[in-house]
Symmetry: C2
DNA sequence: TTGAAAGCGCTAACAT
DNA sequence: ATGTTAGCGCTTTCAA
């Protein structure tokens, strides 16, 4: 079932069918109807591969989404599609697992779909200049930036929160309320990614006040809730004097609150909890989680804006930090 | 940057490059190395479209995932990939929004990638026979089945839970504990989808005992937590005599519990809550949610199994109901 | 073991 | 307004 069959069935040439399918204006109404009828009857569906193979250049931006079931990326994605549509761009998206290589997937997408640019939704913080060269269209890192690699800033754009500064702020929020023994729950201390950056912010915020105690750093080894639950239990059991916890992600913080509850500690009376993310779920815990919320719509719009600018002018690469919004729940209290 | 450039750079023909890239055995070691070196240096990435355009038939199964950020589908997907790999099949996946047409996306994928079969991860419950014909390879519906359409059972396979029976069971779980005034929170009563099926199970379970009161059916209009929160508040305010709630999805149940809490009702002492889904998050609420848990791995494995069977024998279409597992949290108590 | 050439399904430039 | 035709980048015969 190809365009050829449709042409035959409707008694016109394949180029006419192509024109009808692509909404070209120079087709008579009679022919258009004939063709559409044949398309319907034959259940014809164009072959996307053939189509993109032959298309020289399209106004298309690719998006590589890293992490299959990430609801935050889902919201960002929805907004990216809207913003791109408004600017007259198509979106070609592909989704990869957390263990796959987003640059490889991106390069592949660029080739296949003749993209004008690429947005990476989540990825490594440590690209080498070499790595980046594999993508031969301008690209924008969304929700992360190249804190640990040797990319020149002119080689890419990025839209992200300032992980260091936001972690500093979260920690400060706790010290400002009189907390002195403040623990942190993170994935791995030196992961060359958000854990490491946020840990630095936490450490610096406490060090300045002479409150830093590295024994209060709990590593989970993964981003799973189960791991966060166990790590929190261990941390609190070993350091019962802790009165506040900074957890690097909302989902992990929810697990941490459960751990505290199961240890007989009330949140926030016995132990406060703050996190960074702002997912929907953490508004519905009891108490609601106090968290620094990343705005998906803002990040999406800025990413598309950066993409369009740099498509127009390859020198226009920029790096923006998006501010989080403090979403106060009921999980933080004054220290007694 | 095409296969042609690689050929030129390494001084061989394009067919030789193709052979190297595809791991064909009849290439000398010297040539293989030369080609690989050129590939590295040029950062060559094959064009997927061209590749799939020319490939006659591949051992590939397509998966259309409906709903971008659905963590349940993410777990199912991971297991599908494993199971398919074990059977020597590739997976081509595509992801669509909840408003897009999974059959269209599927048909397109089939054409583009010359698939042997298609797995639909989430979709409408009301395909017409006409609809199904648009897919010209065998397909398996995973997590849903055609309860409201006129598809012949020989036209497709399905792996799903029995929404009606599971809802019946959930409701019965509540009546068995002495509850008489039992509300339900669902999306739309006649959505031709899970809400409708689960509502029937709920109704029949109560009707048999003379406990059915249609005033206790709360429609949210969407699957969002915010809508579930509001609907629950309204329902409980209007019917304060309610002592138990069946909510059709875990995420909505979490919002419902928050609504109860905000109304000053304790769960489970004042009002019990049960749901269907079994997402990770609902283990970490306080109290943990009692829910009928759908097993993603089982559904994935059965879907792949069904797919392989029906690829081998087109007559082998089958319809399986997967049983949920009761995951008892602390959200249900005996009625006082 | 290697190369030449056909052709996958489609779009677009060029003819008519 | 419609048809003819040349590729897009690749895999795969077929020949050497």
């Amino acid at each position: 079932m190809t365009i050829r069959d449709v042409a035959k069935s409707s008694g016109v040439s394949i180029s006419t069918v192509s024109r009808v399918l692509n909404g070209h204006p120079d087709v008579s109404e009679a022919v258009r109807e004939k063709v559409m009828k044949a398309v319907e009857e034959l259940h014809y569906v164009p072959n996307d591969s053939a189509r993109s193979l032959v298309q020289a250049q399209t106004d298309t931006i690719g998006v590589v989404i890293r992490g299959i079931g990430n609801p935050f990326f889902a919201s960002v994605m929805a907004e990216i599609e809207k913003a791109a549509a408004k600017a007259g761009y198509e979106i070609a998206r592909t989704q990869i697992g957390a263990e796959e290589d987003e640059l490889l997937a991106g390069a592949s997408l660029v080739k296949s779909r003749r993209l004008k640019g690429l947005i990476l939704l989540g990825g490594r913080f440590d690209y080498s200049a070499e790595d980046a060269q594999r993508i031969d269209v301008p690209f924008v890192c969304c929700t992360f930036t190249n804190s640990f690699g040797d990319l020149a800033t002119e080689q890419y754009s990025s839209i992200s929160i300032n992980d260091y500064a936001e972690a500093y702020r979260a920690t400060q929020y706790l010290t400002a309320r009189g907390h002195q023994r403040i623990g942190i729950v993170l994935e791995r201390r030196e992961d060359h990614s958000i854990s490491e950056l946020r840990c630095r912010g936490y450490c610096d915020a406490l060090r300045g006040k002479g409150l830093l105690d590295e024994a209060l750093i709990a590593e989970t080894g993964s981003f799973s809730m189960a791991a966060a639950y166990e790590a929190t239990k261990k941390l609190i059991t070993e350091h019962p004097e802790i009165t506040a916890l900074f957890v690097i992600a909302d989902s992990m913080a929810i697990a941490a609150m459960k751990a505290l509850y199961d240890l007989g500690r009330r949140v926030p009376e016995d132990c406060s909890v703050i996190a960074i993310d702002g997912i929907e779920m953490s508004e519905y815990t009891t108490p609601a989680l106090t968290t620094l919320s990343q705005p998906p719509e803002v990040m999406a719009r800025k990413a598309v804006k950066a993409m369009l600018d740099v498509i127009r002018d390859p020198e226009a690469h920029r790096h923006e930090w998006v501010k989080t919004t403090l979403r106060e729940g009921g999980s933080v209290a004054q220290a007694r």
